[in-house]
């Protein structure tokens, strides 16, 4: 246990302070249970915790977006009641959300100006006069943002800069960032951290919400760890290690590692040759990919989200048309937009967003247990009728075999925890007796126990000779589970190879589009169109 920083013995009055914050959502969930928090000018505080620990809720209260059920917020030592974000902004507190709050068709300048137009409501938008000020701010901060392009056409990293600029333009001296690196490359993240340090040096207080230990250790001055709505630890970063932070965060360090024994792969199950896929906006998201996934191997695809993984998986699972190329499952060509035909031929698909793709939250466990399998004869009777007794039997079997905790089978899956939802989903897919399992972010947002369970399940599948394609943004997950690893960037694999050939740092560089020197003369970044 690291030494806990004593709350403000000799420090000046905190810039902001939160005391005894409780938050109960209308549906009855207690998100925060008596949290204390403080922030001084010129420090970067890491707010660390698992999904659902209450980090975002706490900061939404500080930024005025939510109101606490109980507890108080003090600014410069004075109690403050924020009814909405503008109250918080007036006190110099601004937040950059995980999902950006930009108006897509507006330009960067317009987005920065929104709410800060100055002139009367019926005057014209003072774009010309504001431009100089915004540009000056950008220069001062050392940020590069094109001001006159609709933000929807800017890359994510630049959009984030717009968000930050927007917040700082309002004279913010407390900047809250919610999972700012989740969509950034390691390189972009580094740049962000450099920028945050500059801000700190100018006296801005920064809160960094994250669940990544590495970031906390790299950039913060102090760490506050939340678990299940309570503060479980507060330390200065200097005295923190990855191990003790992880322990605080998850409660205990138990078998996070999955045992994987070496195994010789067999025949290719999935063969991809020269695949090109477009995204929803018609841009080429997957560019000329070729690879195989073989029996008894886990093929892991690492990469920052948004580099074509979703489109790749959707194309392979029949949900998206491909532009060109060839995909073969056990030697036979794969049709597009025919997910059922693929399931019949041995594909199981654990989709990236279970609530969006894999489950119907309003349906009960019974109905969700046949989602995607509803056309199999074992669940049907004559005239296209559902064989209800058979389905119920099957659902009960799933629940028992995969340890899904639910009050009863008639419970809408909405009322299950994320871990139990994923167990049901993975269980359903695995019980299809597949030849190939395509799993994307299979453990995202799950509690530790479920994460381990599902990772072990994937390894078991591999061990009994299934082919597994694992796509994940969690680099550690990919490196730990996979036999072979590919790093995807800009719709291409920058590197493919056995997992033990990759060092973590190398993969990090590759994820940022930088090919480490070695065989090539210099790092090169393939330029996406």
């Amino acid at each position: 246990m690291a030494d806990v920083v004593d709350g403000g013995v000799s420090a000046p009055a905190p810039r902001v302070q939160m005391r005894g914050i409780h938050k109960v959502y209308p549906d009855g969930t207690a998100a925060l249970r008596g949290v204390d928090f403080r922030l001084h000018p010129g420090e970067i505080v890491g707010l660390l915790g698992e999904n659902g620990a209450g980090k975002s809720t706490l900061m939404k209260i500080l930024s005025g977006l939510l109101r606490p059920t109980r507890g108080e917020v003090l600014v410069e030592g004075h109690p403050a009641r924020f009814r909405n974000p503008s109250d918080a902004l007036r006190c110099g507190i601004g937040m950059v959300h995980q999902v950006f709050t930009l108006v897509p068709p507006f330009t960067a300048l317009q987005n920065v100006l929104l709410g800060q137009e100055g002139a009367g409501l019926l005057r014209a938008l003072p774009e010309a006069s504001a431009r100089a000020r915004v540009q000056a701010l950008l220069d001062e901060l050392g940020l590069d943002v094109p001001l006159d392009v609709p933000v929807e056409s800017l890359p994510v990293g630049v959009q984030q800069r717009v968000e930050i600029c927007k917040t700082l333009y309002r004279g913010t001296s407390v900047l809250i960032l919610d999972e700012p690196t989740s969509a950034l490359t390691p390189g972009e993240a580094d740049e962000l951290f450099r920028f945050l340090r500059r801000l700190r040096d100018r006296g801005v207080g920064v809160v960094l919400i994250t669940h990544k230990l590495r970031e906390v250790l790299e950039v913060t001055d102090r760490v506050v760890v939340l678990r299940q709505g309570m503060v479980v630890g507060e330390l200065s970063t200097g005295s923190a290690t990855a191990e003790n932070l992880a322990e605080l965060m998850v409660g205990q360090v138990t078998g996070l590692r999955v045992r994987r024994t070496p195994r010789a792969p067999g025949q290719p199950v999935l063969s991809v040759r020269g695949l090109w896929v477009r995204d929803d906006q018609g841009r080429l998201a997957v560019r000329d990919l070729s690879f195989d996934v073989r029996e008894g191997e886990i093929f892991g695809v690492a990469g920052v989200e948004g580099n074509g993984q979703s489109e790749l998986v959707q194309a392979l699972t029949g949900l998206r048309r491909f532009e060109a190329g060839e995909v073969r499952l056990e030697g036979q060509a794969v049709p597009t937009l025919e997910p059922l035909a693929l399931y019949r031929r041995g594909l199981a698909h654990v989709p990236e967003d279970k609530a969006r793709f894999g489950l119907a939250l309003g349906f009960d466990l019974v109905e969700n247990s046949i989602l995607g399998r509803q056309r199999e004869n074992q669940f049907l009777r004559g005239l296209g009728r559902l064989n209800r007794p058979a389905i119920v039997r099957y659902a009960r079997e799933l629940v028992e075999r995969f340890h899904v905790v639910a009050p009863d089978l008639a419970t809408p899956v909405r009322n299950l925890s994320g871990g139990n939802q994923q167990r049901l989903l993975v269980g359903r897919e695995v019980s299809k007796q597949p030849k190939l399992v395509v799993a994307m972010h299979p453990t995202r947002g799950l509690d530790v126990a479920s994460t381990v369970y599902i990772r072990e399940l994937l390894v078991q599948l591999r061990d009994v000779g299934k082919a597994v394609l694992l796509v994940s943004a969690d680099l550690d997950e990919v490196l730990e589970l996979s036999d072979r690893v590919a790093v995807m960037y800009g719709g291409q694999f920058l590197a493919v190879g056995p997992s033990d050939h990759f060092r973590r740092e190398t993969v990090g560089l590759l994820m940022g589009g930088v090919v480490p020197t070695g065989d090539a003369d210099q790092p090169r970044a393939p330029s996406p169109r």
Partner: protein, 333 residues
Amino acid sequence: MSTVPSGAMGRYRWLWWLAAAATVAATGRSLERVGLPPVSLVETGLLAMTPLALAAVGECLNEKAGLVNIGLEAIFMVAATVGVWCAELGRSGYVGLAGGALTGAVMGLGLGAVSVYGRADQVIAGMGLNVFALGFVPFLLISLWAFPGIHVFPNELMIPRIPTPVGQVSPVTVAAVLAAVLAHLLLHRTVLGFRIRAVGERPEAVDVAGLRVDRLRLLTATLGGTLAGLGGAFLPLGWFGALVKEISAGRGFIALACVVFAGLEPLVALGAALLFGLADGVASAVAVTPGLKERVPFYFVSMIPYVVTLAVVAVVIGGRRFPSTVGRPYARE
């Protein structure tokens, strides 16, 4: 991702305008040849345009801010009734118009409030309002005048029309044109309009910018209701000269069609209202012109606005260029 909203016809807008003008001219000529007086048609067309334009312009603002009000028909009906009542109390048609506008404002505000605070399903709430008006207006008629179904008010209360080269034009028609122009300027040239467009596209952005999503939406809901209410009061006081229980006869829905047709642009909506108003005038004229009505079934002329809107929806726009949050309530979390 939603594309930038532009007029119904995107960048070839001028071509469409040209085509529309040519059609109007050609129609005028051929109407003259079959015996329909074009001037009087323009006159009727302008009258029919007025309530459509008012309601459509208001609804454009409303939908730009992300709300949908399909209870325009209800606002027309109730505002017409209350408008006449106010006119009689205040002994002036203008008082009636004001009363109608106020009624519309209250109804718009009410619908806005249940949408914003109650997170109501706006389509259902709007339909509820329509059903309500269908029963409430006859009830109100008999309660106010002991004469169910119909009420004839003194002629002095009619809003006098101004003679112009294209015939007698109501000042309310002028107001409708003005409203469209002002709404356009408001939407595209002012800070308020900037915020209205933002709240329709991304209420979260408006919220974290420290602006009040609820107030902006309530404002447009009220503004939309006010204009629709003015249009409703215009029906008896500026046009029919009497109040009947089915006074709106679907015009609220044609106004909605104008909005869709115009892709939420007030000026285009004005054009659509004129087009549909003329169709209304032509339909009435065709229906009563012996020799013509036997050949051109009036029913088919009456369909024009609906068919045109359906075609526009099908061919030109698909469903894309509406603010991304139209009809969806905003809630933090």
